[in-house]
């Protein structure tokens, strides 16, 4: 459903809640709180209906999040049945989506719990297993329903606009009609009386006075040039005064505007039945509070005669007169309301003390209701200035020279296909966010442990402190400093150490794809007397980059120990780091692979496979084992390391084909060459295996972006 539609619905719902609240509360404060309170509280309801303001967490927010989540589930099910874009299937193709870095898949993550990709894979597998040809018939119906939902907002908007336009035109013609029959009141006595009342009421603008016998009740017209229209100017003096006072109160409080807001809300929420009730109630509150204001300014003995005025003026026209649009605010539009108003006059008392507390209480409750109910808010783009991003995870590269730091201190990382950890950095730059990657690495120059990044962009110069380091080949280099390293320039020894390191790096990187430019000092640590082992212990599970810098200096036994430890702790990144630097034999690797397979630790398994000899035979064994055990995750992981000419793949494909095992077949198809795909496509067409066909077609398209 469209975001706009959701917003409107949520506003309508919240507004309805508030309306109900106010309606229920009415008997409570009948006669205790002043009418004006009710009048203003309705304004709050109108605001709730019209303004898309909401706090981060609100009732509507969670309600709609639930709704969206369910919609997502349904969508997923539908998608696997259709031959349209399958948002799930890429899950088969990306074997290494690790739960260490929660990733958002292509589907909407708004409010829904993160579907850990490991969950989604088996789920999708099950669904496709269930799928049958019979469901194909439901698809068009789903599509129609879907299309309708998407375009619901158009219907809503069309009706709302039509209603609004109609109201405006009715209003205009009414005004014209009234103005046409108006005659100026020239009696200066009346004009003077009017002027005096204006002064007393605090109305600055001169108010015109007209007479129009066609008008059923005295009324106030006009926003900018207010005029009062009377059916008959020849009224007893007291009646005249009361009427004028009443109308002027309407003018001062801008009741015309109030009524328009009510009408706009009624137009926008035309589908909501409670809106009619609100309309009626708000108008009631308007009139009653107006009466109250007039009564308050009248001396006590005159109050009863105000009732007489109302009787004289309104009882001539029984029934309702209310123009479809609020062109005017009148003395009264309904004889039914008249009774209530007369009653109110009889019971009128000047404000009691505890009225105020009740009013405040009610206002507070309603305001709380306003905020809590909230509105739908389309989820903000996950990009927010200043915060770290969660990036889509990708395959682990074949050779990971460096390893990826834990996401806690550093911005989330992305991986380069040629290996190496490339942290992305996001900076708030006048509200906009830009991301790019820079390399990061750890270096252990005893006793300093440096974490450096380099090849930052020039525009980041303004975000960091910087210093100029002179290297021993008499060149200078600008070094950016992270906030934590601001005191670095004060430590001469550290500077010395770093400059020699930088010199070496510069020389090493000269002429390569990434020559050394604009380095960033992320962290510097004086490790003092700590031995590498002690350091490794400290850094293990805490600082991957530092660990990777120190690890190569450890004794072999120590390295092995860490390797085992990382494996058993399932610290994939550290495990990978260890594997990178250690010399292991294939037996050990095999052992690890077996164990990872048995424990269903996909991440560890995959990392291990990375380092196995690429003869494929071991890996194919794993693949076959995974196939027979129906472990798609392991299976998928293995496929990445098998070449497409491996005969085992052919066997497995044949088997999957025969058994209509779409899930596994899809994994295999992802790695097939085009001619293999064509072969299978031809067979599938002949054997009329539609689901496998759809899998094949999907993979035919994605050839371009594979690897």
């Amino acid at each position: 459903m469209n975001d706009l539609m959701k917003l409107v619905l949520s506003l309508s719902l919240s507004g309805s809640l508030l309306i109900l609240l106010l309606l229920l509360a009415r008997p409570l404060f009948q006669g205790r709180a002043s009418r004006a309170v009710q009048y203003y509280l309705w304004l709050l309801v109108i605001a709730r209906l019209l303004l898309p303001l909401t706090p981060q967490a609100s009732l509507m927010g969670t309600l709609f999040a639930q709704f969206e989540k369910n919609a997502d589930c349904v969508d997923r099910k539908n998608n696997t049945l259709q031959d349209a874009e399958n948002s799930n299937l890429p899950g088969y193709g990306c074997p290494a989506e690790y739960t260490e870095m929660p990733a958002g898949q292509g589907t909407d993550t708004s409010g829904a719990p993160d579907f850990s990709p490991q969950e989604s894979l088996p789920a999708a597998g099950q669904e496709s297993a269930f799928s049958s040809e019979g469901n194909a018939g439901q698809m068009p119906l789903h599509r129609i329903a879907d299309a309708l939902l998407q375009n619901l907002w158009l219907i809503w908007l069309a009706v709302a606009l039509a209603l609004l336009v109609r109201k405006i035109t009715v209003c205009q013609s009414f005004t014209k009609y009234v103005k046409a029959g108006c005659r100026e009141v020239s009696d200066t006595a009346l004009l003077d009386s009017l002027a005096q009342i204006c002064v007393r009421s605090g109305v600055k603008k001169p108010v015109e006075l007209y007479e129009n016998p066609l008008v059923p009740s005295p009324m106030l017209l006009g926003f900018l040039r207010p005029c009062i229209v009377l059916p008959c100017a020849g009224l007893p003096e007291q009646d005249f005064r009361h009427i004028i006072m009443h109308e002027l109160v309407h003018y001062k409080r801008r009741d015309l505007l109030y009524k328009w807001l009510v009408q706009i809300a009624a137009c926008l929420h035309w589908f909501n039945p409670l809106i009619r009730i609100m309309d009626r109630e708000a108008c009631r509150a308007c009139e009653l509070s107006c009466d109250e204001a007039v009564l308050r300014s009248l001396p006590e003995q005159e109050r009863h005669s105000y009732g007489d005025t109302l009787m004289h003026a309104l009882s001539r026209y029984p029934g309702n007169f209310s123009p479809a649009a609020p062109a005017s605010v009148t003395l009264g539009e309904s004889a039914k309301l008249l009774k209530e108003r007369l009653n109110a006059i009889l019971c009128f008392q000047p404000k009691l003390r505890w009225n105020i507390s009740i009013s405040l209480l009610l206002a507070a409750v309603l305001a709380w209701g306003f905020t809590v109910s909230g509105a739908y808010r389309s989820l903000p783009d996950s990009r927010q200035p200043g915060s770290a991003k969660i990036i889509e995870s990708q395959n682990i590269p074949d050779s990971s020279d460096d390893v990826f730091p834990e996401a806690s201190n550093h911005p989330a990382i992305d991986q380069d296909t040629d290996g190496g950890a490339l942290p992305k950095t996001d900076h708030a730059f006048s509200g906009k966010v830009y991301t790019y990657t820079y390399r990061q690495d750890g270096f252990y120059q005893v006793p300093y442990l440096f974490t450096l990044g380099w090849n930052l962009l020039d525009r980041d110069l303004k975000h960091y402190e910087s210093m100029s380091l002179s290297l021993s080949d008499n060149s200078k280099i600008t070094l950016l400093l992270e906030d934590s390293c601001r005191d670095f320039p004060l430590d001469a020894d550290a500077c010395q150490s770093l400059s020699s390191l930088l010199l070496k790096l510069k020389a090493d990187m000269e002429g390569t794809e990434y020559p050394l430019t604009l380095p960033l000092l992320i962290n510097v640590r004086n490790t003092g007397d700590s031995t590498p082992l002690e350091l490794a212990e400290q850094l293990y599970q805490n600082d991957l980059i530092g660990f990777s810098a120190v690890y190569p200096l450890l004794e072999e036994t120590e390295q092995k120990r860490f390797l085992d430890r990382a494996f058993s702790d399932s610290a994939v990144s550290f495990y990978g780091c260890c594997l990178n630097h250690i010399n292991t034999d294939s037996d050990t690797l095999n052992r690890f692979a077996e164990k990872a397979c048995a424990d269903n630790q996909i991440a560890l398994f995959d990392t291990t496979l990375n380092y196995l000899e690429p003869d494929g035979s071991l890996v194919s064994q794993y693949a076959q084992k995974a196939y027979s055990e129906n472990n798609i995750a392991i299976f998928n992981a293995c496929l990445n390391y098998l070449t497409s000419d491996n005969p085992v793949l052919g066997q497995l494909a044949e088997d999957a084909y025969e058994n209509d095992n779409a899930a596994f077949f899809s994994c295999l198809a992802y790695h097939m060459e085009q001619d293999t795909l064509d072969y299978w496509t031809a067979r599938a067409i002949e054997d009329k295996k539609s689901q496998l066909l759809s899998v094949l077609f999907e993979n035919a398209d994605r050839d371009d972006d594979k690897n």
């Binding site: 100026e184 020239s186 200066t188 009017l194 005096q196 001169p206 015109e208």
Partner: protein, 133 residues
């Protein structure tokens, strides 16, 4: 530019006419303050808003033009008094005497509405006119 008094001039109420007369008497232009002063001199106790309302009605009817000088309003008569009188006289003639002045004059004479001096003046005017023809 002489105002064509055959153009329809809207009816003004008595109070509005009073204001118009004040403006005319002041040379065709008057400040609000002056108008108000004159009114109080003649014993009128109209409220400020009343006067403003009446003046704005005259402006709407095209008989006055309003201008702001600093914070004060100045009103200028668009239709000269003579034109206005002529228009009103014509309207009266049309309405009551079928457009002919003779009937009016005879009324004035028969009802003794003309003073002796007025009568003399009228007679001279009449004979001069007849002589021209």
């Amino acid at each position: 530019m002489p105002h064509n008094f055959t153009t329809v001039i809207q009816q003004v109420s008595d109070s509005e006419l009073e204001l118009l007369k004040i403006v005319w008497a002041n040379g065709g232009t008057a400040l609000y303050a002056q108008i108000q002063e004159k009114l109080t001199e003649t014993g009128r106790t109209w409220q400020k808003n009343t006067i403003i309302t009446l003046l704005s009605r005259l402006v709407d009817k095209g008989l006055l033009k309003a201008r702001k000088i600093g914070r004060r309003n100045e009103y200028t008569a668009i239709v000269p008094e003579a034109d206005y009188q002529a228009a009103q006289a014509q309207a009266l003639l049309n309405k009551l005497y079928a457009g002919s002045a003779k009937g009016l004059v005879s009324t004035l004479i028969q009802r003794d509405m003309l003073s002796a001096a007025d009568y003399e003046e009228l007679k001279q005017f009449w004979e001069k006119g007849a002589a021209k023809q």
